[in-house]
């Protein structure tokens, strides 16, 4: 398998075959996490730094564990414990870290385009762990991996993404990926959060949740950030729940074996009913589990792991 990208900046910069390479690699790496000794020497001697300028539970731990299971050395820091609070510029912070001979930098940042910015001056591989409202490529990859695992395919499915599409990097990355794979994507939410022009990114836009979920194979709910109400994107949580929450009644109209996804963290009983979130239809925790395999695959492919080091 060949993978010639230096950085992982976003799904929009990957070809279909590169995406498939990552998914297939993740499939073969997934079983490592089920071994008694969950570790292979593929990236022994590689140094990776997790730069998290935004809070994160899942993504940060997932990248850390993925790196460790491949035997890379990884060090993580968050904004609060970095020199950013002393006014150091991001470029200076990163150049100082690179001086410690890093091989890869995994970055989560609130400003869109920050991984691009790093890639203009970094020697190390840059991996986007979520930038502003731009992209979250490993989330889309793990979502596609999970859908493929559950449905046996991607092409021809109907995926409905519901919520704050405008501000969602998860929605964008998913849209780009699913579009390349021949999946029909429908975006649903209040008009301000789903601008009609977003259809040009490769999706249908609908403002009626009841209509959109009909015949869906996958319903992907996004976290609704309560501060959006302050900016009048919707009038109240109550009204949002009435119009866009995934309830058992709405879910009934989807395809028989439809699955429910959510990138987390969830607002129980706001965007999704607790009953559904905890039901067998929900693959939310499988997404988290698969996240490790996807991030192992990304690190392995970018940092040039050897195939013989992952097989028994």
């Amino acid at each position: 398998m060949s993978f010639n990208k230096k950085h992982l900046l976003g799904i929009q910069y990957l070809t279909k075959s590169e995406i498939l390479t990552i998914l297939d690699t993740a499939e073969s790496l997934k079983e490592i996490s089920k071994r008694e000794v969950k570790k292979v020497p593929a990236l022994r001697g590689k140094t990776i730094i997790n730069l998290f300028f935004e809070p994160s539970t899942r993504t940060r731990s997932s990248f850390e564990l993925a790196a460790k299971r491949l035997s890379a050395d990884i060090s993580s820091f968050s904004k609060a414990s970095s020199s950013a609070v002393k006014g150091e510029t991001l470029k200076d912070t990163v150049l100082n870290l690179e001086a410690m001979q890093t091989d890869a930098l995994i970055i989560r940042h609130s400003a869109s385009g920050t991984p691009h910015f790093l890639s203009t001056f970094c020697r190390s591989h840059v991996i986007n762990a979520g930038d502003g409202t731009h992209e979250h490529p490993t989330q889309a990859l793990l979502d596609a991996f999970t859908i493929r695992e559950e449905k046996g395919k991607l092409k021809g499915l109907k995926v409905v993404i519901v919520g704050d599409i405008l501000h969602s990097r998860v929605a964008r990355s998913n849209m780009f990926l699913l579009n390349k794979m021949g999946v029909k994507v429908v975006l649903v939410g209040p008009p301000g959060l789903v601008p009609p022009q977003m259809a040009r990114l490769g999706a249908q836009v609908d403002y009626n949740m009841d209509r959109a979920v009909q015949d869906a194979d996958v319903i992907m709910m996004l976290r609704i950030q309560l501060e959006r109400q302050q900016k009048n994107f919707f009038p109240s949580v109550r009204e949002y729940r009435n119009l866009f929450s995934l309830t058992p009644k709405r879910f009934e109209t989807a395809r028989k074996n439809a699955i429910i996804m959510h990138p987390g963290p969830i607002n129980r009983d706001i965007e999704i009913s607790t009953q559904l979130a905890d039901s067998l239809k929900s693959v939310i925790l499988k997404q988290v589990e698969n996240g490790i395999a996807i991030r192992m695959a990304v690190l392995y492919l970018l940092l040039g792991g050897k195939e013989r080091d992952v097989t028994d």
């Binding site: 991001l90 385009g113 920050t114 910015f117 731009h134 964008r172 022009q197 040009r200 990114l201």
Partner: protein, 432 residues
């Protein structure tokens, strides 16, 4: 005495459009005729060159006082001279804001000491540019303020806008307005549209400009005032200005080269040198603005020269300041993209870079080549090919998105008050 020999003189104001000589004496133009003898005079050979009344950039940020790490009156005026400008009008968003005669007088005194070109301060409309209380306009005019603007910000309060237009009308001075609805643009960093959705950057809708253009036109009409609209960027604004002009209102406007020739699809790499306010819009807007230049709907080319230091621009896109450093590329861009491509005539270029800004700012002895007018001249070589290199800028800053562009046509000599402020010709003015 300085003699400009054999140049093709273009002056739309007097209708001059022929090969002739120009003699300068005591900072004024003293003669215009063919075959003036060069004996005993310093002379410049302008054969195969265009000689035009000195170009005026009525929208420049010099950052002085207060932000001298970005630009100073000295470096900004040097950049202007190199760019072919003999006069510049500088915006009041300095530190402190130019809302008082002391700051206006400082700028004028500093310019006399160090500037390469004429510098005309524009004072603030409101104290501290806060949009609350009017500045002492009469006093500021006495100190040398040439016009008033809160540029960088709009005058959001419509009542204040009305009052300042009324007040300025009776002082016969000019208000220049930065048209932006701050609620619509709030948080935005680029034009709103497909590219902003693709990049995940918060958009500034084009109508955040257009709704304010509409409001301002209504207020100018109701107060029977003159009003100049800065850096127009949208098709919608062009349509409103066209209607206002057809109605006979005293509305003038300007456009920058970056709004004419750049569009939001270029932002795909998050280049902060393309981050500017108003943002670069769409190809459709480019087209409409160029058409407005052709048809005389827009009156002036201006740069909105906004220098920022490299450190300030080498940051996350959201963190970078808005602004493009434009003085040293503006004339070449119009020559290459509009004149040499036969979209507009040289005559129209000179109108928009010299005659019109002089008229709008009330600079009676500028913007024309007549006996007795100020000896400010811009000499152009329409055939000269250049490659833009920000490292050769006279400006202190480098934030120009046209770096490495190849352009045909360039200013070659800038004469300010009869003195050579800049020359790229091999020859030096020499006495025979």
């Amino acid at each position: 005495m300085l003699l400009i020999k054999n140049g093709h003189v273009i002056d739309p104001h007097s209708g001059l459009d022929k090969k002739t000589d120009i003699l300068i004496k005591n900072k004024k133009i003293s003669d215009i005729k063919e075959n003036i003898s060069s004996v005993g005079k310093k002379s410049i050979d302008a054969s195969d060159k265009i000689v035009a009344p000195g170009f005026i950039d009525m929208h420049v940020h010099l950052r002085d006082p207060g932000q001298e790490h970005k630009e100073t009156i000295e470096t900004g005026s040097k950049a202007a001279a190199k760019g072919g400008f003999t006069s510049i009008a500088c915006m009041p968003n300095t530190v402190p804001v130019n809302d008082n005669s002391g700051t206006t007088e400082y700028i004028i005194a500093e310019a006399i000491k160090r500037a390469s070109v004429n510098v005309f301060p524009i004072a603030a409309v409101s104290m501290g540019q806060k949009g609350e209380l009017l500045t002492e306009m009469a006093d500021l005019i006495k100190s040398g303020a040439i016009a008033f603007s809160d540029d960088g910000y709009p005058v959001s309060n419509s009542q204040l806008m009305r009052r300042c237009l009324e007040y300025a009308r009776e002082l016969n001075t000019l208000i220049i307005e930065h048209c932006e609805d701050l609620d619509l643009s709030s948080g935005g960093v680029m034009n709103e549209g497909y590219p902003s959705y693709l990049l995940g950057l918060q958009g500034i809708p084009d109508y955040s400009e257009t709704v304010m253009v509409a409001r301002n036109i209504i207020l100018a009409e109701k107060t029977n005032s003159r009003l100049h609209l800065a850096h127009m960027s949208t098709k919608g604004s062009v349509e409103l200005i066209k209607a206002a002009k057809n109605k006979g209102l005293k509305i003038t406007s300007e456009v920058t080269p970056h709004h004419l020739f750049l569009d939001d699809s270029l932002l795909s790499d998050y280049d902060t040198n393309l981050k500017v306010n108003p943002p670069i819009r769409t190809k459709l807007d480019n087209k409409s603005l160029i058409e407005a230049v052709k048809q005389g709907i827009i009156d002036v080319f201006a740069t909105d020269h906004a220098p920022h230091s490299p450190d300030e621009k080498e940051v996350e896109f959201n963190e970078a300041p808005f602004g493009i450093n434009g003085l040293e590329t503006a004339v070449s861009l119009i020559l290459d993209k509009l004149v040499n491509k036969k979209i507009i005539s040289l005559n129209r270029l000179v109108e928009m870079y010299s005659c019109n800004p002089a008229k709008i700012l009330g600079l009676e002895n500028k913007g024309k080549i007549e006996i007795g007018s100020d000896a400010d001249l811009t000499i152009i070589d329409t055939e000269k090919e250049i490659t833009v290199d920000v490292n050769t800028f006279q400006s202190k800053s480098r934030n120009n998105p046209f770096h490495s562009w190849k352009l045909k046509g360039s200013p070659v000599v800038t004469i300010v008050g009869g003195k050579v402020a800049y020359s790229s010709l091999k020859q030096n003015p020499s006495a025979e």
